[in-house]
């Protein structure tokens, strides 16, 4: 679905990503992990066409992503960015309804309203739906923004650190929602810092280091003692508790 070939991204002459070739497996939940500054968010935003690329190419269903019209791409690809400056005086429902804009240009039908209500319910936002965003906590606002991305119903959903600011209950909610997206036939890529979540929830893991692809594959092959210790330059242990893998740093 999304293929990255020999990608390089540079800011002010400094290469953030170098010679990167990888793909997001269709219909799978892919976790993108790596230390700070590895280029995880840059890779995600380049795939979402928010960051210009220096060289190489990104293909969406075989077509260069830069050749696809912005409005058409928005119907098929949605991206969550944590740094989005949320306009304060909007209700949660207003914000989530923006997710339907690529499909409706501001004139939602009954089916669109249903999708908006489903997004509200799926992220446990029903009790806040009519509250203004500036009356909510950071985590609640973040879920509202995620709701907007879900309401966009893209075939590919890119999520940049969606678990930051969330308590463990809502982090679980977001991962459950990500899995539901996969069950609906979508492809999801998610930047994660919590390696245990990556190990237990993702179908595929891409590990980045110093702007380059370090390793990729099934979580059990990528998230190993040796692989993670090399990735983070620190000793990392992978334990198993009741069939679940837990990543520990010592």
């Amino acid at each position: 679905m999304i293929e990255v070939r020999n990608l390089a991204v540079a800011f002010d002459g400094t290469k953030i990503l170098r010679n990167m070739t990888l793909s997001l497996p269709k219909g799978k939940l892919t976790g993108i992990v790596g230390p700070n500054g590895a280029g995880k968010s840059t890779l995600l935003t380049a795939m979402g066409r928010l960051t210009p690329i220096h060289s190489g190419e990104i293909l969406f269903d075989g077509f260069p992503i830069g050749d696809i019209a912005t409005a058409s791409l928005a119907k098929r690809l949605s991206i969550f960015r944590q740094s989005t400056p949320i306009t304060p005086r909007l209700s949660v429902r207003d914000l989530i309804s923006f997710g339907r804009y690529p499909h409706t240009q501001g004139r939602p039908t009954g089916a669109d309203l249903l999708i908006i209500e489903q997004a509200i319910a799926r992220l446990d936002l029903s009790e806040f739906a009519d509250r203004y965003l500036d009356t909510l906590s950071g985590g609640q606002r973040q879920r509202a923004l995620l709701g907007m991305v879900l309401a966009q119903t893209g075939d590919v959903v890119l999520l940049d650190e969606p678990l930051n600011n969330l308590d463990i209950t809502h982090a679980r909610t977001v991962m459950r929602v990500a899995r539901e997206e996969i069950e609906m036939g979508r492809t999801v890529a998610i930047v994660l810092h919590d390696l245990s979540i990556a190990a237990n929830h993702c179908d595929h893991v891409i590990a980045l280091k110093d702007g380059q692809l370090h390793s990729s594959g099934k979580p059990e092959y990528v998230l190993t003692n040796e692989g993670l210790s090399d990735l983070y330059n620190t000793k990392v242990d992978v334990a198993e508790i009741e069939g679940r893998r837990v990543i520990l740093t010592v």
Partner: protein
């Protein structure tokens, strides 16, 4: 405050209340202290009211859209130096062609030239920054610095100019709500009305652009192209209002602050008409109060600017910049 009363009303009801108050202000402006023939009074006051409404609408729309693009509640095109540019143009004209020559230029021609020049200068200023990174912050800083430069050059010309012609500059460079040109009023009215209709037709897109570049692009809006179009409209609106009435620095800020306070939401469907109604209603009410009730001719601009300036400081001190 009014905000608490309005809190219990739906958004359309709030608009209706504001519109009703504005209509009362207009009726008072048209009828209070009128002596003599209605056939003369109504058209005379009518064209003045139209000028005030056009001016306020231009200021309101340009400010609201500018604040949407910059995601900042204390920035306005005036604060960015547009009005300083206007004053520089006026002062340069008097300096180069003299006071008599300046007074003899056809007002419509002067407006057309000024509008084209202002729009071109604004697009050059914004475009210069837009060509590089999409950095509104740098654009704002550039605007502020250019504003200082324009004022410095104006100040220099003022020192070089013939003292007898200085009064011509003084007259041209301060907002005047009393003497309006009929032709100019109609031209700017049509321009402003066209801008209002277009902006209302894209109110959803404006809501989305208020989320910032990345979110807007993610939702399928061609952010760079739309930003350029909106900047051109802002330049045109600022040109219209400054050519029609003159420069005002803080009125747009006052309108924007009141609109946010009374409407609450950032949805442009309500915010844009509310800002126009509040701007026009407040200006007409102030003009009625000063001109008809207090019999003062020239104080409106000064008082409105003072209140706007205080609003600016309050917004700064209360940190309600977003």
């Amino acid at each position: 405050m009014g905000g608490h009363v309005m809190d219990n009303l739906s958004l359309p009801s709030r608009l209706a209340v504001l519109a009703t108050l504005a209509v009362f202000a207009l009726l008072a402006f048209m009828t209070l202290e009128s002596r003599g023939n209605w056939g003369f009074v109504l058209p005379f006051r009518g064209i003045k009211a139209l000028a005030l409404i056009t001016f306020a609408t231009s200021v309101a729309l340009s400010t609201m859209v500018f604040q949407t693009l910059t995601a900042n509640r204390i920035l306005t095109p005036s604060i960015m130096g547009f009005d300083a540019l206007y004053i520089l143009i006026q002062t340069s004209l008097v300096f180069t062609i003299g006071g008599v020559g300046y007074a003899s230029i056809d007002p419509v021609m002067k407006f057309t030239v000024e509008s084209v020049f202002m729009t071109a200068a604004a697009l050059a200023l914004f475009g210069m920054v837009l060509r590089g990174v999409h950095d509104i912050g740098r654009m704002v800083l550039t605007g502020l610095i250019l504003g200082v430069l324009f004022r410095s050059i104006t100040s220099l010309i003022n020192r070089l100019i013939d003292p007898s012609e200085f009064s011509v500059i003084q007259q041209a460079n301060f907002a005047s709500f009393n003497a309006v040109n009929v032709e100019l009023t109609w031209i700017t009215f049509v321009l402003t009305a066209a801008c209002f209709v277009w902006l209302m037709s894209i109110h959803k897109r404006l809501d989305i652009m208020a989320l910032g570049r990345d979110a807007a692009k993610g939702l399928g809006v061609d952010y760079e192209r739309e930003t350029k179009k909106l900047l051109a409209v802002i330049a045109l609106l600022v040109s219209s209002s400054t050519a029609l009435i003159g420069p005002v620095y803080f009125y747009g800020l006052l309108i924007a602050a009141l609109s946010h306070k009374l409407i609450g939401t950032w949805r442009h469907q309500y915010l844009l008409p509310a800002s126009c109604i509040i701007g026009a209603g407040l200006l007409i009410a102030s003009q009625t109060l000063f001109e008809r009730v207090l019999s003062l001719q020239t104080s409106v601009a000064v008082v409105i600017e003072a209140i706007g300036g205080i609003t600016f400081l309050l917004l700064l001190f209360t940190r309600k910049t977003r």
